[in-house]
Amino acid sequence: MSDSTARQLDEASPVLAIDGLGVEFASEHGWLRVLDEVSFAVGPRETVGLVGESGSGKSVTSLSVLGLLPRRSSRVVGDIRLRGRELGGLSTAELEDVRGREIAMIFQEPMTSLNPAFTIGDQIVAVVRRHLGWTKKQARAHAIEMLGHVGIPNPRQRVSEYPHQFSGGMRQRAMIALALSCRPRLLIADEPTTALDVTIQAQILDLIREMAEENDMSVLFVTHDLGVVADICDRVVVMYAGQVVEEGTAEEVFCTPRHPYTEGLLRAMPDVEDHVRELVPIPGTVPPPWEFPAGCRFADRCSYAQDRCRQPVALTELGPRRAVRCHRFDELDLEGAS
């Protein structure tokens, strides 16, 4: 196989392909299924938003990609493929080689996600030396370069500082520098801007977008905030109660949503330009896993629900990478964002 065909294959196949992912947790209610038949893919250089309220299963999905769910109290079924390689059967040691090197992750809480007892530089150096086998000196130079790259002023000095000497926004930048230090192919960003104030949010989103473009990196962006998704994502996967309920390009999902839950999320989203429109929250909350209904899981909160919505509902493919899980998707005329 020549180099160019190898690259073409690489271009075509998704970076991350999740197929039929199911997760069960041990609990006082016995084994609880919290994720059900979750399938989607993240293509090369694509940014995919994984959207839903708290309890929809998006964080469990992202943690299971890295194999970070607690081993003894969780069971995972289904396929998770990273550039064609199945991650499910890997040993802990093999998974550790993938984490940080091929897939990196940043988290919601920049204040607590960095180790308070080590300098920012030491934390980056440890990861770089672990995966790339560089000398201390090379790794440190790289750490300084990365900190500068993510927009931390005076990186030469700040590399020797501790997390508590950084502000929230700067910590999230440092976290991004750490995550990207080994040039991973996929970044999983789990609500990376939720804990930050609005102006900093925008800066961090810009930074993630820039970094993804520069490094040919794919991003799985986990968030409850559709506004953020509109800003940064090419595609959107909407999750509800442990299932994918709708998938499509960002434009499709925003302008022509096919699932009432997506419509509900859009109506609950504040619109910067249109101050007149009233925000309509979705009534109720996501049920806990031990109260998932047997039929459509959204039916209890859905204003379009009918009797047949009490029956189980499968995901319907509407086209390539366009899908919806609703009994009434072809009858409803749902309102998108303008």
């Binding site: 970070l68 550790e96 993938v98 990196a104 308070p116 007892a117 672990r130 995966h131």
Partner: protein, 314 residues
Amino acid sequence: MSRVLVRRLLTMIPLLFFVTLGTFMLTHLIPGDPAITVLGDNSTPERVEAVRERLGLNEPLLSQYADWISGVPSLDLGTSLFSSEPVRDTLANRIPVTLSLTAAALFVAVLIGVPAGILAATNPGRWIDRVATIGATLGVAAPSYLIGSLLIAWLALKSSIFPATGYVPMEESVVDWARSITLPAVALGSAAAAEIARQLRGALRSVLQEDYVRTARAMGLRGRIVVGKYALKNAMIPLVTVIGFQVTSLLGGTVIIEQIFGIQGLGSLAVRKVLEQDIPVVQGIVLVSVFVVIAVNLVVDLMYSYLDPKVRVR
């Protein structure tokens, strides 16, 4: 850092002053007269009075204390009321014995307590956690004299690997020193080992729930590095306090252990001299103990500033 150190050393001076003043007063509250102890019960009042005069016991208490404390800076701690041996020489003989016993007990405590705590914290609910927890409970509950007596009965009297009593100085033979110190160190250190294991288990378990541990795992750092370096350094912060307390209680525990194992250290000396009301020697022992406790606290504080960058003063 060095400024902090100097400041801490300076605050030691008033502390030493007040603690020695306190013990000085307390020893005088013990009923009985040192002069009678020196002479025996059958002496005449005139002779008692003469001895009291010679020993300075007729002076007001404060001036007796002033007399004693004025010698301390030049390490002149007075002489024993009984043997007229300088207190400094008596202490110089005994300090290495007790310090090596305390250090060996601390070594045993850390050697057993830290791995047990780590194993228990990383395997919560499994058999190894249960074994460690039961062991720790027994270790805390069992008095050191019981453990000491059992060790003598099992390991010293039935085999000749360890001597039942006595102490061999390190200068004479390192091997014999180690043999003579092992059983007392285990007896003295087991409660501290149990406490260290218990505290480390708790601290490490809560650190392992922290977001930054998840970050370290998510970045692919090896599991043993995540636990042994990233998590342990944070869990050490509360543990260092515990170890500091343990050193103090180990030092106090030598009083009993030295009696059981027939070791001529500060502890056994203290017991005898308090009963004899040999005030200069008692004062000397108190001075040394206070100094050691303060020094241990200083080391604990210095370790804090290494472990927790937030308390670091620049």
